[in-house]
Amino acid sequence: MISAIFQREFAGYFRTPVAYVFLVVFLLAASGLGFFAGRFFESNTASLEPFFFFHPWLFLFLVPAVGMRLWAEERRGGTIELLFTLPLTPVQAVLGKFLAGWCFLALAIVLTFPLALTVAFLGSPDWGVIVGSYLGSVLLAGVCLAITSLMSALTKSQVIAFVLGVVVCFGFVLVGYSLFSDLLSSFLPVPVVSAIANFGFIPHYDTIMRGLVDLSSVVYFLSLTGFALFLNIVALER
């Protein structure tokens, strides 16, 4: 039953222009930021770090654009009534939809593989780091999507779902951002600041991006995703 929901949702991205617009914008923005803002060539190292560095900032806007429709559209169109009078549980519905969106995002991320090939052609990159970075990026996309899915379940309006999704994801990015931590440490003791920073995406994402697939960071992303999905189920059960 999860697979029926998954297939409908995943195919749904491609039934409308959403998928194509998103893929083009994501691929342009991701590589554009890597090349121009990240100075990919100037760094002169066979690494994708300048490319992956911007993903939290990119996902902040683009993942809510993918996830905003998940539940808001069902509410607006009245199909939520159809969905929840079919013999499935809210858990199955939420997981099916989330996994479809996550796979779509993973597909978008994997489609950046020509960058990895370019690096491999120009030099000899550390494949462990690259695979780790891809994993971190997919995990990060997952948590942003789960948060957006929750916001989408709270409203009929896709615009509100998008805005709330961006705001909450931005909060999580900001909390772990070094400039913000520096600001906090001017009036808070260091252990408190680092505890707060640990709730943010960036410290965990950085760890994984450096090729350290640290269990605690993976657990951080997965548990935050799971918690957002749990709240999503609660929100739908009212």
Binding site: S3, R8, G78, E81, T85, P87
Partner: protein, 244 residues
């Protein structure tokens, strides 16, 4: 087949449904009448497991909707009001999705159920059209096809003929009557002739309460000239209104 006991629903301080009870047996077509906002749709939403009741319960085939909502949903075919569907899907894709949820992992059964529903509701000629391109009548039939796809023992239809032209209404009534023999059917409507033409029993609901539960014939007999609209008016507004 359907047993509703003391069903109640509160929306904040407003009691939308207030102690509704009735039974529907196999072979019955129960007409659900009442003014807008009387609680018809809310009762149906609780019966089909979409809204949790604030009080009372509903049983389908002996299964309590509060204990095993998924079990109840398996036995019910439900056409929600204004027949929602996914506009960008084609008729075939949409019914295929419903079939995949109803019969997971059984591709033959899914394909068979989709074909049967398409033919039953006169849809084969539009099967490859996106639902958003269809007229209201066709969309209503798609909603209907979705409800009967798994040949459920219980059908709950919220205004199945709403927005259809007279020919289409006739068509939908014919389909319903054709299926009635071995099912328990509840349908809500605003059209009083529909009740006379189709239903074996009528429930009138007003301000969240059942004000009458009898056969269409005995309901007509309440008025000296057998006028159902006058009876409806009297029951839903009170005798004072009819005098005016």
């Amino acid at each position: 087949m359907i047993e509703v006991q003391n069903l109640a629903k509160d929306f904040g301080p407003i009691r939308a449904v207030d102690g509704v009870s009735f039974r529907v047996n196999r072979g019955d077509i129960l007409g659900f009448l009442g003014p807008n906002g009387a609680g018809k749709s809310t009762t149906m939403k609780m019966l089909t497991g979409f809204l949790p009741p604030s009080g009372g319960t509903a049983r389908v085939d002996g299964i309590d909707v509060r204990v095993d909502p998924v079990g109840v949903k398996r036995r019910i075919g439900y056409l929600p009001e204004s027949s929602p569907s996914y506009p960008e899907m084609t008729v075939e894709e949409f019914l295929g999705f419903i079939a995949a949820v109803r019969f997971p992992g059984d591709a033959d059964r899914q394909a068979g159920a989709v074909e049967r529903a398409l033919h039953l509701c006169f849809l084969p000629e539009v099967r490859r059209q996106p639902i958003e391109t269809l007229s209201k009548g066709y969309r209503q039939r798609v909603g209907f096809a979705q409800a009967v796809l798994h040949d459920p023992p219980v059908l709950v239809l919220d205004e199945p003929t709403d927005g259809l032209d007279p020919n289409q209404k006739r068509e939908v009534r014919r389909i319903i009557a054709g299926m009635a023999k071995d099912k328990a059917i509840i349908l809500s409507t605003h059209i009083l002739e529909e009740v006379e033409a189709l239903c074996t029993r009528v429930i009138i609901i007003a301000r969240g309460r059942v004000v009458c539960d009898e056969t269409p014939a005995s309901l007509c007999a309440r008025h000296p000239e057998g006028r159902l609209d006058e009876v409806f008016r009297e029951l839903t507004l009170g005798p004072a209104a009819t005098a005016a």
